[in-house]
C-alpha cells in the first residue's frame, strides 16, 4: 500500500448532442490540468480549420478519420484524469443511433453514472432512457446533473421541479442505491469543480467534490466468496520438488473474501476442500478479497479446471442450464428464438440456444411489449436460454461479475449481446455433501 491510497472511480457520462456533455468533460479535464498544451493546440487548430473558431472537445478522443470527417463519435472513448484525491476513468459515449449499445458497454464497468439534463427542457425521453440503462446495469451511484441552470436564471423552483419529475419515475426502475441531483452550468463552471455563488439554495457538493468522495469501497460484492477458476498453475518443475508438486488455482475473485484454512466447495462437482495457501507473487496472504487476482492452493488434490467456480460454504450460487436473463442486443442481425450462440460467463464458454423472448422493454416509456418476434440492435428484453452445460451463477443484482454474460455468434464470433441473469430460484444443492476426501 502506498502512503496515500488513491482509488480509481470509473464513471460514464450520458447525454445527447447539445446538452453540454463535451463541455462538462472538457471542464473536468481542464480544471484538473489533465489537458496538455499540445492537445489544446491541436484542438485550437481543428477549431480554426473546421469549427469556425468553436473548440470541440470531442476532437480530443474522436481520433479516427471517419469520426473527424463526419463529426461523429464511433463508440465508447475512454478518458483519464486525476486529482490529488482520486484517479478517474471516464467512459464517454456518443448520443446517436447506437446509443444504447455503447452506453451499456460503458456502464458495465462504471461505479457511477452522470446523467445530464438540460434545465430548459427538463425530463425528456433521453433522460428516462439514460436512467433506465444506469439502473439496468446496476450502477451503484447516479448523479443527475441539471445543466444550463444559467439559462433558467438559477431558479431553485425549476431545479426542484425537474428533481420531482425524476423522482416520480425512479421507483419504476430497479433500485438505484445512491441518487444525487446537482444544479450546474458546465459552460461557466458553476458547481463543476467549485461551488457556485449562483446557487446559495443548494447545500450539496460540486460534481468533482462528489466524484472525489463518494464511497465506492463497497461497490464490489464482499458477501459471498466466488472464484471462477481461470488458469491452473502447474509449474511441473523437475528440478524443484516443491514446485514439482505445486498445483495452484488462479483467478480474479469475483465476490467475497477468502481466508487460509477456510472450507470451500468446488462447483459444479460439489467437492469440498480447505484453502491451504493463498499464493501471490508478492508473498502468501492470510486473506484475499474481490477483485484481487490470486492463486489458491487447496488441501486436497482434487480435479479442478478452468470454468469451475470455488465458493464459500454459505450463500451458495445457483446452478442451472435453463436461464432467465435481461439482454441488450448489440448486433444488426436480430436475436430470434431458436438461434444458437456461445455464452461466455465468468471463465467458461458454453453453447446456448435462445428458447423464447418473453418481452421487450421500451426504455423511454418503460412499457413492456410481450412476446416480440425478435430483438433488434439496441433493444432490451427478457429472454430464456438453454445452455449445453449448467452455469454456476448469481443474480446480476447480487453480483455484477457472476451474474453477467456475453453472447457470441457462432461462425463470425461477433459479440452480439450483453446479458444480466435473474437471481436463481434456489441455491445449488451439492450432491456429495457427505463425501469427504
Amino acid at each position: 500500500m502506498s502512503q496515500h491510497p488513491i482509488e480509481i472511480l470509473r464513471f460514464n457520462t450520458c447525454g445527447s448532442v447539445d446538452d453540454g456533455k463535451s463541455t462538462l468533460i472538457g471542464r473536468l479535464l481542464y480544471d484538473s490540468k489533465s489537458l496538455m498544451e499540445d492537445q489544446l493546440e491541436a484542438l485550437q487548430r481543428s477549431a480554426d480549420i473546421t469549427g469556425g473558431g468553436q473548440v470541440n472537445l470531442a476532437n480530443l478522443t474522436d481520433g479516427l478519420r471517419a469520426e473527424r470527417e463526419q463529426g461523429i463519435t464511433i463508440d465508447v472513448a475512454y478518458r483519464y484524469f486525476a486529482t490529488p484525491k482520486r484517479k478517474f476513468i471516464v467512459a464517454d459515449t456518443p448520443g446517436h443511433v447506437q446509443y444504447t449499445r455503447n452506453m451499456v458497454t460503458g456502464a458495465s464497468t462504471a461505479n457511477l453514472s452522470v446523467v445530464l439534463v438540460d434545465a430548459r427542457l427538463g425530463v425528456i425521453e433521453q433522460t428516462r432512457r439514460h436512467s433506465y440503462i444506469a439502473a439496468l446495469l446496476g450502477i451503484p451511484h447516479i448523479v443527475f446533473a441539471i445543466n444550463k441552470m444559467d439559462l433558467v436564471d438559477w431558479s431553485e423552483e425549476r431545479f426542484l421541479e425537474i428533481r420531482e419529475n425524476i423522482e416520480a419515475y425512479l421507483p419504476r426502475l430497479d433500485v438505484l442505491k445512491d441518487v444525487k441531483f446537482i444544479p450546474m452550468s458546465a459552460l461557466n463552471g458553476d458547481n463543476v469543480v467549485e461551488l457556485s455563488k449562483n446557487t446559495p439554495w443548494y447545500q450539496g457538493p460540486a460534481l468533482l467534490g462528489h466524484l472525489e468522495t463518494v464511497h465506492i469501497a463497497s461497490d464490489w460484492n464482499l458477501n459471498a466468496f466466488r472464484l471462477p477458476v481461470q488458469w491452473v498453475n502447474r509449474p511441473n518443475n523437475p528440478r524443484d520438488q516443491k514446485l514439482h508438486d505445486f498445483r495452484g488455482l488462479s483467478g480474479q475473485i469475483a465476490g467475497g473474501i477468502v481466508k487460509v484454512g477456510q472450507e470451500v466447495r468446488i462447483l459444479p462437482s460439489g467437492l469440498k476442500s480447505k484453502v491451504k495457501q493463498i499464493w501471490t507473487y508478492d508473498g502468501e496472504l492470510e486473506e484475499a478479497f474481490c477483485p484481487q487476482s490470486v492463486t489458491l492452493v487447496l488441501e486436497d488434490d482434487i480435479d479442478v479446471s478452468r470454468g469451475d467456480m470455488i465458493v464459500g460454504m454459505e450463500k451458495l450460487p445457483g446452478k442451472n442450464s435453463e436461464l432467465h436473463a435481461r439482454i441488450c442486443w448489440m448486433h444488426p442481425k436480430a436475436l430470434a428464438p431458436g438461434r444458437k450462440y456461445f455464452v461466455k460467463h465468468g471463465t467458461q464458454t458454453v453453447q446456448a440456444m435462445v428458447t423464447s423472448i418473453d418481452h421487450k422493454i421500451n426504455i423511454q416509456t418503460y412499457e413492456v411489449e410481450p412476446a416480440p418476434a425478435e430483438l433488434a440492435m439496441n433493444d432490451i428484453g427478457e429472454i430464456r436460454l438453454r445452455v449445453s452445460k449448467p452455469l454456476i451463477y448469481d443474480g446480476y443484482r447480487a453480483n455484477r461479475l457472476t451474474g453477467s454474460f456475453i453472447l457470441i455468434e457462432q461462425g463470425t464470433n461477433h459479440t452480439v449481446g450483453a446479458g444480466m441473469l435473474h437471481a436463481p430460484l434456489e441455491p445449488v444443492k451439492p450432491e456429495y455433501d457427505d463425501f469427504a476426501i
Binding site: 480530443l60 464511433i74 456461445f342 450483453a418
Partner: protein, 311 residues
C-alpha cells in the same frame, strides 16, 4: 476495522493480471511483445504476477528497425535471460535481405517497415495472440482500442467494427488465420506506469535517466546523433538519418518515450531517479507522444499504421 479496497495501482494490476491469464487460457500460441521500453517492462512484471511460480507460458517477441538505441537492446536481452524466457527477434534488415520487405528511399524511418516484419513473425510462428503494452491515454486512435483487439487474416484493425467489451468478459474467439492483439495496460496512464515502476522497483534502461549526449535539431525536435558507422563493407543503416547542416549541441537529456533513434526526441532534463521522472511528468504540459516523430507525420498517422497491422 479492516478495509477491503484496492488503491489505483492494485486495481490496474488485478485487471491486467486477469487479462493476461485469459490470454494464457484462451489462446494456443500467444506471444508477448517486449521492446525493453517502460510499458513492456510493466508487462513483464505483470506476467510474473500472473503466472509464477510456473514459467511465463509464452515467448517474448521484438521487432527491430535497425535504428535502436544500443542501451535498449542490451537491456532487452538481459531481462529476457533473467526471466528465463525465450526471446524471438525479427528485424527489418532480415526482412529486406530475404525479400519480404522493401525499403523506400524517400522514407528514412523504418517505423512502417515494422508492420510486415511483425506480420511475418506472426505467420512464421503461427501466433494467435500478441500481448502489447499500448495504453489508451497515449494517442487518439488508441483511445478506442479494446483490451482484446481483433485482427483479420491480413492483420488489419477495423475500428468501426469492433467487438463491444463488457464487464471483465473478453471475447477471445478466432477463426483460422485471424489473430488478437491484447493490451493489459489499456487503462493505465503514463503516470500509472511510472508509479508502478517505482512501487515494484523495476529496472529501466538508463536512457530514461538524464545523461549527456550529442543531439541535432530536425523537424522540431532534438534527435540523438547516431553511432558512427565503422564497417565500410556494409551499408550505413543510418544513411539519411545522420545530421547534415542542422544545429547540433551536447545536451543533458533523457527520453520520455522510446521509439528508435531516428524518431525519439530527446528531452532536456536533470532527472536522475524515478522520483525525478514522476515529478517531471506531474509538471509536464505536453503529452508523452509530443516527442515522437512517428506520430507527427499526420493527424491520422497512428490510425493508418494500426489499420495495416501495427502494434
Amino acid at each position: 476495522m479492516k478495509s477491503y479496497h484496492l488503491d489505483h495501482l492494485q486495481y490496474l494490476e488485478t485487471e491486467a493480471i486477469h487479462v493476461m491469464r485469459e490470454v494464457a487460457a484462451e489462446f494456443e500460441r500467444p506471444a508477448l511483445l517486449f521492446s525493453g521500453g517502460k510499458d513492456s517492462i510493466c508487462l513483464l512484471r505483470l506476467a510474473e504476477k500472473a503466472f509464477r511460480p510456473a514459467d511465463i507460458p509464452m515467448p517474448f517477441l521484438n521487432v527491430e528497425t535497425g535504428h535502436e538505441f544500443p542501451e535498449l537492446l542490451e537491456f532487452r536481452d538481459r531481462r529476457a535471460k533473467e526471466l528465463g524466457a525465450k526471446l524471438i527477434v525479427r528485424s527489418v534488415d532480415q526482412a529486406v535481405a530475404n525479400g519480404t520487405a522493401v525499403l523506400t528511399k524517400s522514407e528514412i524511418s523504418r517505423n512502417r517497415m515494422q508492420i510486415p516484419v511483425l506480420l511475418g513473425a506472426i505467420e512464421e510462428y503461427r501466433f494467435d495472440c500478441c500481448i502489447g503494452g499500448a495504453r489508451r491515454d497515449e494517442e487518439k486512435a488508441r483511445a478506442k482500442e479494446r483490451f482484446f483487439s481483433f485482427r483479420d487474416g491480413f492483420g488489419q484493425w477495423d475500428p468501426k467494427n469492433q467487438r463491444p467489451e463488457l464487464w471483465n468478459l473478453y471475447n477471445a474467439r478466432l477463426n483460422g488465420g485471424e489473430n488478437m492483439r491484447v493490451f493489459p495496460l489499456s487503462n493505465w496512464t503514463e503516470m500509472d506506469v511510472w508509479e508502478y515502476i517505482k512501487r515494484e522497483q523495476l529496472e529501466v534502461p538508463n536512457i530514461y535517466f538524464s545523461h549527456t549526449r550529442e543531439c541535432f535539431f530536425r523537424a522540431g525536435q532534438w534527435l540523438p546523433v547516431p553511432p558512427p558507422h565503422t564497417d565500410p563493407t556494409t551499408p550505413d543503416p543510418f544513411e539519411g538519418a545522420r545530421p547534415g547542416k542542422e544545429p547540433r549541441k551536447t545536451m543533458v537529456c533523457r527520453v520520455r518515450t522510446i521509439a528508435d533513434m531516428i524518431s525519439t526526441g530527446m528531452l532536456e532534463s536533470p532527472a536522475t531517479s524515478i522520483d525525478d521522472i514522476i515529478g517531471e511528468i506531474s509538471a509536464a504540459r505536453v503529452t508523452e507522444r509530443g516527442s515522437r516523430a512517428d506520430d507527427k507525420a499526420s493527424e491520422a498517422a497512428m490510425e493508418d499504421r494500426k489499420k495495416q497491422g501495427y502494434f
